[in-house]
Structure formats: structure tokens, C-alpha cells
């Protein structure tokens, strides 16, 4: 197999991870990876080498260029001293009592608080999972999944660690579980590849607070994150994803969720950071009565670019989806939303509703929205809506007539628009922190223009 990867060495060009880098990585992993994992990495790397990074000629990447990622050489992620990171954890975390900390994509048990895991919940690092139950880890990590692309392949090829989370059948986990992905400061740009694989047994319930953050805004790194979740029959996953990467960082993530009969997936995606953030969310409602409820807010300014691609696959009858994404775009920021809903043949009694609303606050900001319906069954109720606009002059006038100045009125209305999504987060400490951040951001946006 090593020979095979070397044969690929010449294929990759530019700053893309080349065959040499991959061979070196595999060699370093020797002794840690079982054969099946090494093989899966080689397959994934071959897939990536074949296609390379996507270009804007690819329909899925029409509005988002990854040229800057392709042109940057990313070193291996540094290993900082965990003890020095504590202040950042408090600043960037969600404040949940159950916490897994990944630093630069690596599970740090010393920084995590997993002593009081509720019954039925297991959380392990890749190394621990391989030692305890290699076959189980294999199933969880490598279950065949749709939506393989260059970035998911890169993650599989190069991820150094993973968090494996399992909830036993019927386990109703009360307190939320936080997975905090922290990227540190380094001298040269580096790549981190956080990976979470999660399985909820039949009837299990879990709230996952999935936080991605950097330390300083001028840190340049590339987070290539991946989360896979399998929801058993009747299971419920509440997924709160907060992206607060450094303003100079690249964040390209994928979440792939599959829901069995009667299972429910509820997500809230908050995207605030990163120079380029691209989040793909692929939900398969695989069996009857599965449902999902997706909410999202992207609030970006300056030269930020936030891209959300969601794909809801209604593969069985009587499945339901609700989706509501909102965007606040200031400065020269670009917002992209592409929501695809597929109703497969035979998926009768499907109900799907989707909306995307964008608020443009500045002259140079831009929003691109492509809500898509693809329907192959007739007994369905599907609708989608999309709006792009600015703050309502009459509302502004109303507030100003009460003695509040124009800029403050704008801030208030913008805050109200975005906070509707944040307000859906059940875990109060995180919700309040994000609300405060939004309040500052709407104020900060005001300051910039003056």
C-alpha cells in the first residue's frame, strides 16, 4: 500500500497535500493505525488526489472559492502545552459541565471534564476506542456515507484523532455534552482535522454543543472538520454548532446525519468567525417518521465569507423537515446559502419547509441564496422561501421616534433579527454568551461604518 501512495506522489500539485506528505503521515501513524484504517486513509487520499480541491466551476462551489486554501501550504498542527490553554477554554467554550476538549484536532483528556459521565454515555478518543473495541470503532468511523467530497476525503486521510461518542439504547442524557475544538496560535499556517463520530441507540437522547474556536484573530489555520451521526429509531440529537474561528482562519466542515424511524435531528448552526467558512450539512431521513429541524445564523462582516450548504434527503414516507437560516452581512462580507431538499420516489406524506432570510447592512456586502426543491412524489407538502433585503425604514422610524438614534436603532433591529436563532439554544450559558456577542457585533458593525 505504501507503494501505491508513492505512485500518487507526482499527482498532486501546488500546495495541495502531496503523496510525499501522505506517505510521511502514514509512516508516522504506523503502530497506531490498524490495517483497515491505513487502507481507508489511502483510499481517501487517492480520491482526493484524483479530484483535487473543487473549483468554482463545480456547481456546489459556484459562489465559494477555495483557491486561498489550495494556495497555502499548511504544516502539521503544533502541540502546545495544554496547561497554557486554560484561559482560552473558558473564553471560547460553552461552559457545559461535560466537556471534551480537542486541541488542534487532538483529544486532550487532561483538559476535558468527563469524570461524571451519565450512565449509558461513552466518550473516547481514537486511541482509546481502538484499544477497547476496534471493530466497533471501525463501524462507527467508516460506515458508508453519502456526500464524500475532497474535504471529507482529506479529513479521513489525515485526521490524527477522533472523538467517538455512543449513547446506549434508551439513554436520556440530561446535561449537554460539549465538544470544544480549539485551534492554537502558531508561527506558520497549519491544518487541523477534528472528527466526531456519534451513534445514538434506539430512543437515546443527547444534546451536543459542538464549538469551534481559535485564539487570536490573526491566526492562520485551516480547520477541516467532520462530524458523522447515526440516530437509531426514536433517538433525538440536539446539535448546537458554534463556529468562532479566528478571523484569518479557514473553516471547511461537513456534518452527515442519518436518522432512522421516528428519530429526530435538531440543529442550530451559528457561524461568526473565519475568513472563509463553509459548512455542509447532509441529513438523510432514512426511515418513516424521521424528522429534522435545522436552524442557522451566519453573521459576518469585513472580508468574511460564510457558506452554508444543506441537503435534506427525504428517503422514506412520512418524513418531516423544517429549515430556517438567517444571514446578517456587513462590510464586504459574502453570504451563501444553498439548501437542497430531495423527496425520493415513494416518500409520500413528506412535509418540508425551508426559508432563508438575508439582511444586507453594507454597500459592498453580497448574499447568494439558492433554495432548491427536487420532488419525485406527489402526496407531499413542500415550500421554500428566500428573501434578501435591508432593515425596514418604517421600523427604524418607529424606534427613532422614541428618541433612539438611527445607528442604535439599526443595531437593535439587526440584533433582534439574528437573536431569533440564538434564542433557540436551550443551554442558557451558551445562549447568553452568544447573545452578548451578537449585541457587540451589531454595535461593532456600527462603529466600522462611522
Amino acid at each position: 500500500m505504501i507503494a501505491r501512495t508513492e505512485a500518487l506522489a507526482g499527482a498532486a500539485q501546488g500546495a495541495e497535500p502531496g503523496g510525499k506528505a501522505f506517505s510521511a503521515f502514514l509512516a508516522a501513524r504506523r503502530g497506531q493505525d490498524p490495517d483497515w484504517l491505513a487502507e481507508a486513509r489511502a483510499d481517501a487520499f487517492a480520491r482526493f488526489s484524483e479530484r483535487g480541491y473543487p473549483s468554482r466551476r463545480d456547481e456546489d462551489w459556484k459562489y465559494t472559492s477555495v483557491e486561498a486554501i489550495a494556495a497555502t501550504e499548511f504544516a502539521a498542527a503544533p502541540r502546545p502545552n495544554p496547561a497554557a490553554l486554560s484561559p482560552w477554554l473558558e473564553l471560547r467554550g460553552a461552559g457545559a459541565p461535560l466537556r471534551v476538549v480537542l486541541v488542534n484536532g487532538r483529544f486532550e483528556r487532561a483538559l476535558s471534564s468527563l469524570e461524571a459521565l451519565p450512565a449509558g454515555l461513552t466518550v473516547s478518543s481514537l486511541k482509546e476506542a481502538l484499544a477497547a473495541d476496534a471493530e466497533g470503532a471501525r463501524t462507527l468511523l467508516l460506515a458508508s456515507r453519502p456526500a464524500e467530497d475532497a474535504f471529507t476525503a482529506l479529513n479521513t486521510a489525515f485526521c490524527e484523532d477522533a472523538v467517538l461518542i455512543r449513547a446506549a439504547p434508551g439513554a436520556a442524557v440530561g446535561p449537554p455534552l460539549e465538544v470544544l475544538n480549539l485551534a492554537t496560535t502558531a508561527r506558520a499556517p497549519f491544518a487541523l482535522r477534528p472528527r466526531v463520530a456519534l451513534a445514538l441507540g434506539p430512543g437515546a437522547r443527547l444534546t451536543l454543543l459542538d464549538c469551534h474556536a481559535g485564539c487570536r484573530d490573526d491566526d492562520v489555520y485551516f480547520s477541516n472538520a467532520l462530524l458523522d451521526a447515526d440516530l437509531g429509531p426514536g433517538a433525538l440529537l440536539e446539535h448546537v454548532r458554534v463556529e468562532e474561528e479566528a478571523r484569518s482562519a479557514f473553516h471547511v466542515s461537513a456534518c452527515r446525519v442519518s436518522a432512522a424511524a421516528g428519530a429526530a435531528y435538531e440543529s442550530t448552526f451559528i457561524t461568526l468567525g473565519g475568513r472563509l467558512a463553509r459548512n455542509s450539512l447532509h441529513v438523510v431521513l432514512a426511515r418513516e417518521e424521521a424528522r429534522c429541524d435545522l436552524r442557522g445564523l451566519y453573521c459576518v462582516a469585513g472580508e468574511q465569507h460564510a457558506d452554508h450548504h444543506t441537503f435534506i434527503d427525504h428517503a422514506a414516507p412520512k418524513t418531516t423537515s423544517r429549515e430556517r437560516y438567517k444571514g446578517v452581512l456587513d462590510g464586504q462580507a459574502q453570504g451563501v446559502f444553498c439548501g437542497r431538499i430531495l423527496v425520493r420516489p415513494g416518500a409520500q406524506k413528506t412535509s418540508a419547509e425551508q426559508s432563508n432570510d438575508n439582511l444586507l447592512l453594507a454597500r459592498e456586502a453580497a448574499a447568494h441564496s439558492t433554495p432548491q426543491l427536487e420532488i419525485y412524489a406527489d402526496d407531499v407538502q413542500c415550500r421554500h422561501g428566500s428573501t434578501v433585503g435591508q432593515l425596514d425604514e418604517e421600523m427604524l422610524y418607529y424606534i427613532r421616534s422614541r428618541g433612539i438614534d438611527r445607528e442604535a436603532a439599526r443595531g437593535l433591529l439587526t440584533y433582534a433579527f439574528g437573536n431569533e436563532v440564538i434564542g433557540q439554544i436551550g443551554f442558557a450559558p451558551l445562549r447568553e454568551r452568544l447573545s452578548r456577542r451578537l449585541l457587540e457585533a451589531t454595535g461593532a458593525a456600527r462603529g466600522q461604518k462611522e
Binding site: L360, A365, A366, A367, H368, S369, I375, Y376, R383, G389
Partner: protein, 481 residues
């Protein structure tokens, strides 16, 4: 499909129902090359600049790839197996009387209540006697020319008004535009040309029906309509009657230009042969239609009722350049049996305070696949732009598909864009309610569908709307129950 079979496919389409396609010496051999284009141009006695333009288009076409992004599937087209020029057929090759025409077609004519004479013309029956409509057309022509309106075939315009043609040809759809439009530029056969001078309001709806020699415009039609400052024109294309055509591939181009305060209304009813229940045969309709609102306060409105063709690939669009200009798109697309439609519009807002409205109604039945694909782009300087889009789909039967692919691109914070889409089926309860009142299930469906399309049908000129209503009902016969 192998190319031999493809050729066979085309050949069969030509020979259907015993029409002989025994072309006279005046036709070009199959295949496409610079020689073919020179041949066409020579036959049509075209000036050198037009031949040069065609050749430029052809050379560019050679570098292009056939697009595959549309949600339609069809066997690969062999562009070398098509004959690109045939002179109007002589009477000898046509059916001698209606007895020789496919009875199914006649049945449909009867249901639509088309007069016998018209039936003959539509079915391509050779009519020796001078038709009534010719004299009617002549009267109209006189009236139009009194007002200074030019309304003639494209070839005639090239001969009589070369300056106008040269000025506007390709000004909206350039010869490099897209695969099918470029092909059209290279080999276009004929079409219509309309010029309405400053401040003139065209007193009647212009229709190809009233244009002499309109019946044989060929498969690569090209239409150019210009409304000068303050002018108004309403143009009708096609008709509700089913159209047979021996050519399977149609790649038309329509260009509209509206100057200051001008208004162009373009209505289409398309009911070309869609193939049989199993999708055999049928027309491939790849059309590029685009209007340019060049002047301030100009207004372009597209209305289309698409009920035919095996494949429809068309996106009538508006480029809103002039300040305060308005673009409108009203569409009903119906797919039944194995028909596939990928249609929609593009509204490009460039001028300030430009407005656009999109209302699209898709109806899928049988195994039909119906996609709305649209783009609304607000460019950086289009202050105060406004768009409203509504795309509704109706599904009849569980084997069909309805898809919506809107693209919204906004670069201006003062713009307001709204897009709404919904998909649903005709409720059992609605049909039950009608049946309870003595209305048959079929009539109920027709009624519900017409209600669903009302906003669009209301945009059609009156007599057209009535026919279109009947047509929709007819097209859905047998799809329920």
C-alpha cells in the same frame, strides 16, 4: 444510443405518418461544416457581413460543449446527422388531404375546435387555393406599414433593412452566448423581424400566423423585435393547435430590445409534438430568449404556456439596464407522459429602481419531469431594485417530478428580493367536492388546474387565454382516475 441508431431515430421521425421527406435539389446534405453555412447563406442571398457573422459563430461553436446541467435526459444528438437547410417543400411532398393525416392529431384539432381550413394548414396539407388568411394578412400589412412598423420575415429584413438588422442582431444574445444559441447563429433558417418606430403603438397583436410564408421558418428560428422610444408592441408566437414538425431538434433564438419608455409583450403558446405515451419521438426544444430593457422606464413581459415538446429547455430572460425598467415572466409549463421541461427565467438588474416579477406554475403528470430554474441577480449599482418570485408546482400522480432551482444573487443592500415556492398535489377532497356537485373527476382536474394557472393565463391576450385553458384540460386527459 449508438450513432447509427440515432440516425435511424431521426430518420423515423421524418418519415412518420407516411410523409415523404423527399427533398428537392435545394437542400443541403446532412452535416455541419463551413461549406454548409456558406451554402445556406448563398441560398438566402445574404450579404457578406452576415455570412462572416455566421462563420464566426460556427467557429466558436466548435469550441463549445453541449451543456449538461439542465435536468433533462435525452440521447446524444448527432449534429452531423441533421440537414441544416431545406427549401420550402413543394406540394408534392405533403399530405394531399386531411385523410392522410394522423387521426389522433385530427381528434385533437376537433377538440380544440379549430376550423377545417386551419387544420389543413397546421397539418401541412398542401393547399392550392389562396388562403383567406393571406388576404387578411395583406390588409394588416398595409395598415402596419402606414404606421411605419416593419413586420416581415427575417430574410426579408436582411434584404430590405440591413442597417437595422446589423445594428441589433446579436446585441442581446451574442453569437458566443451558449451552445444552442451559437448553433442557431451559425445556421439560422428564418424567423420574424419587427421594428416599431418612436412613439408608435402597434394597433394589433402581431403573430406569425398573419405573416405570409410563416409556416416554414424551419428548425432554427430567429426572431428580433425592436421597440423604439415610447413604442408598444405585443407579439404572439405559436398557437394552441398541436404542431407537427419533421425536425426533431429546434434551437431558436429570440431577441427583444426596448428603448426608453417602450414596452414589449411577448406571448408564447407552445404545443409541439411531445412524443407518444412512452416518450418515443417528440421535439427537442432548446430555446434562447432574452430581452434587453435598454432605455429608462422600458418594460418587457414574457408570458409562456408550454404544453408540448419532449424536451423544453428555455429561459426567457430580461436584462434590466435602463433605470426604472420592468421585467416580467409569467409561465405555465405542463409535462405529461415522458415529457421533460427545464424552464425559468433570468432577471439581471443593472439599472436603478428596476423591478421584476416572476410567476411560474409547473404541472407534472404521468412520468413528466418539470423544473423551474431561475436567476435573480442584483448588481452593485442597481439601487432600489425589487424582485418578487413565486413558483408553484402541482403534482398529479406518483411517478412524476417537480423541481425548483432558484438562484438569488444580491450585491446591493437597498434591493429587496422575495422568493416563494410550494409544491403540492390536487387534494382528494377538492375533487370529491366537485364530483359531489356532478362534475366529473376529469373536469374537476381541468378546473383546478386552470385555477392554479389563472395568474399566468390572465396575462395572455384574451382569445389566446381561452384556447390555452382548453388546451391545459385536454393535455391532462386520462391522467386522473
Amino acid at each position: 444510443m449508438t450513432s447509427a441508431r440515432e440516425i435511424e431515430h431521426f430518420a423515423q421521425a421524418e418519415y412518420k405518418y407516411g410523409w415523404t421527406a423527399d427533398l428537392e435539389a435545394d437542400s443541403a446534405p446532412c452535416g455541419l461544416s463551413e461549406d454548409t453555412i456558406r451554402f445556406i447563406s448563398r441560398k438566402k442571398d445574404e450579404p457578406a457581413w452576415l455570412l462572416e457573422w455566421r462563420l464566426r459563430a460556427f467557429r466558436h461553436w466548435l469550441t463549445m460543449k453541449e451543456p449538461t446541467w439542465a435536468k433533462v435526459h435525452y440521447p446524444k444528438i448527432d449534429y452531423q446527422a441533421i440537414s441544416y437547410y431545406s427549401a420550402p417543400r413543394s406540394a408534392a411532398g405533403k399530405p394531399k388531404s386531411l385523410d392522410q393525416v394522423d387521426p389522433k392529431l385530427l381528434e385533437e384539432y376537433a377538440k380544440l375546435g379549430i376550423p377545417l381550413r386551419e387544420q389543413e394548414q397546421l397539418a401541412g396539407v398542401a393547399v392550392d387555393a389562396v388562403m383567406d388568411s393571406v388576404s387578411v394578412a395583406t390588409t394588416f400589412k398595409q395598415k402596419l406599414s402606414d404606421l411605419g412598423i416593419i413586420f416581415c420575415s427575417f430574410s426579408e429584413a436582411v434584404r430590405e433593412h440591413p442597417d437595422l438588422v446589423r445594428k441589433y442582431l446579436g446585441s442581446v444574445v451574442p453569437y458566443t452566448d451558449n451552445f444552442f444559441a451559437t448553433l442557431n447563429c451559425a445556421v439560422f433558417s428564418d424567423g420574424s423581424f419587427v421594428y416599431v418606430p418612436k412613439g408608435v403603438r402597434c394597433p394589433m397583436e402581431l403573430s406569425t400566423y398573419f405573416r405570409i410564408n410563416a409556416s416554414n421558418t424551419g428548425q432554427f428560428e430567429r426572431t428580433l423585435i425592436i421597440a423604439d422610444a415610447g413604442a408598444y408592441v405585443s407579439y404572439l408566437e405559436g398557437c394552441t393547435a398541436p404542431m407537427r414538425d419533421e425536425n426533431q431538434l429546434h434551437a431558436a433564438v429570440v431577441e427583444l430590445v426596448a428603448h426608453d419608455d417602450a414596452r414589449v409583450k411577448y406571448s408564447t403558446v407552445q404545443n409541439w409534438y411531445p412524443g407518444d405515451e412512452n416518450g418515443k419521438g417528440g421535439i427537442y426544444n432548446f430555446v434562447t430568449k432574452r430581452g434587453k430593457c435598454a432605455g429608462v422606464n422600458s418594460h418587457i413581459s414574457w408570458t409562456q404556456v408550454e404544453t408540448g415538446s419532449a424536451i423544453t429547455w428555455k429561459y426567457p430572460s430580461c436584462i434590466l439596464l435602463g433605470d426604472n425598467s420592468v421585467g416580467e415572466f409569467y409561465s405555465v409549463a405542463l409535462t405529461n407522459h415522458r415529457m421533460q421541461a427545464d424552464t425559468g427565467t433570468k432577471m439581471i438588474h443593472v439599472g436603478k429602481n428596476t423591478r421584476s416579477t416572476i410567476v411560474s406554475k409547473g404541472i407534472s403528470a404521468g412520468h413528466g419531469q418539470n423544473s423551474y430554474r431561475g436567476l435573480v441577480r442584483i448588481t452593485r449599482n442597481a439601487d432600489g431594485a425589487r424582485n418578487y418570485s413565486q413558483c408553484d408546482s402541482l403534482l398529479i400522480g406518483d411517478q412524476c417530478g417537480a423541481h425548483t432551482f432558484p438562484y438569488i444573487e444580491n450585491q446591493n443592500p437597498t434591493a429587496r428580493i422575495e422568493h416563494e415556492a410550494s409544491t403540492s398535489k390536487i387534494g382528494e377532497d377538492q375533487i370529491y367536492y366537485c364530483q359531489q356537485r356532478g362534475i366529473s373527476a376529469e373536469d374537476a382536474v381541468s378546473m383546478i388546474v386552470n385555477g392554479f394557472c389563472r395568474e399566468v393565463l390572465a396575462e395572455l391576450p384574451m382569445e389566446f387565454a381561452v384556447e390555452a385553458q382548453k388546451l391545459l384540460g385536454l393535455k391532462l386527459e386520462g391522467s386522473v382516475g
